[in-house]
């Protein structure tokens, strides 16, 4: 079970240490959507642009700002390369932050 992003677009501009990882949510319905989530401070962007407005989820019951399902629920995971392709976000990936492991993602 991967606890860290497999593909990221930048270091977090807010906390400085987190990775702005690409996350896919809504995998169990017909409307998968992407998020950018810092894996340290949990800042969230709903588009792959960290200059845009960010938000934070609830500290204890984090929910996806798009579909309101649990942010860390089973319908959501750190995106694989194929997930990024499905989201149309391949070009947003910064390969220097890639973790080369697409197995057992959650």
């Amino acid at each position: 079970m991967a606890k860290s992003p497999q593909h990221s677009i930048a270091h977090c501009p807010i906390c400085g240490a987190g990775l702005c990882g690409i996350r896919i949510c809504g995998m169990r319905d017909e409307h998968p959507h992407g998020l950018i989530v810092c894996d340290e401070c949990e800042a969230i962007w709903t588009e792959p642009n960290i200059s845009a407005e960010h938000q934070y989820p609830d500290a204890e019951e984090a929910r996806c700002p798009v579909c309101t399902l649990p942010l860390w629920g089973p319908q959501s995971r750190w995106a694989t390369f194929d997930d990024c392709s499905e989201l149309g976000w391949i070009d947003e990936i910064d390969p220097q932050f890639d973790v080369h492991c697409d197995e057992d993602l959650v």
């Binding site: 906390c15 240490a17 401070c41 949990e42 934070y56």
Partner: protein, 235 residues
């Protein structure tokens, strides 16, 4: 003759002087220990009390004790890491060593009070709750007690295992509240403290840190939602 005889010490006098010197050394150690720990980032042992001496063999005999392969022990009393998950391990390691008449056996990692529903509070008032990709903030924090050399970028690693880390974060939070060598940013209800602790608190690991031969870290960054810890790491 009489003078030289008076200078000679009887065995009882020698014992008394020795005792006084020993007591002085012990008192000096007790006074200097917190300062040395603070300045050097060590964890020098407390002087044993009769209760602690009595209990200490049980503490180690009941646990399978391992050190992370890539983490060198720090100081003469480097903490031992039980080979069980973070929160379970904490309860096990905290059980055998009652430090006083208080019921410290229920403390998690030796200092966190269990409030129920997986909520824990530190002596400084920090809350550790459910949340995050790992499911609980303590499990996320535990990732900052060992290096992750494959992680892209930097990965701050605290010295001192979970207990040492939690104590350090409490100290940093106390400093932050008084503004001592602290920067503070507030963003949409999240507070980010960066506290200069004045001495080593860990090192920078991850891919970048390992390329730079793990430079030491002396600052602590704490991200809070009110008093709830979101994350904390050295930098």
């Amino acid at each position: 003759m009489e003078q030289s005889a008076s200078r000679r010490r009887t065995p009882k006098q020698q014992t008394t002087i020795g005792g006084v010197v020993l007591a002085g050394v012990i008192a000096l150690y007790a006074l200097a220990r917190p300062v040395i720990n603070e300045r050097m980032g060590w964890n020098l042992p407390l002087l044993p009390t009769p209760a602690a001496v009595e209990d200490s063999p049980r503490e180690h005999s009941e646990l399978e004790v391992v050190r992370p392969a890539d983490q060198k022990p720090v100081g003469p009393n480097a903490p031992l890491v039980p080979k069980v998950p973070a929160r379970t391990a904490a309860k096990v390691e905290a059980q055998p060593v009652p430090a006083s008449k208080d019921d410290t056996s229920k403390l998690v990692h030796g200092l966190l009070k269990d409030l129920g529903s997986e909520r824990y509070v530190s002596p400084a008032g920090l809350m550790y709750t459910r949340g995050g990709a790992e499911g609980h903030r303590l499990d996320h924090l535990e990732r900052h007690t060992v290096d992750d050399p494959s992680r892209p970028g930097k990965h701050g690693v605290f010295d001192g295992g979970m207990e040492g880390t939690l104590k350090l974060i409490d100290r940093a939070y106390d400093r932050a509240k008084t503004g001592t060598r602290t920067t503070k940013e507030i963003d949409q209800g999240r507070t980010i403290y960066t506290v200069d602790m004045g001495s080593r608190v860990g090192f920078i690991g991850g891919q970048d840190g390992n390329r730079q031969k793990r430079p030491l870290a002396r600052r602590v960054r704490i991200v809070l939602d009110q008093n709830r810890v979101i994350t904390a790491y050295p930098l």
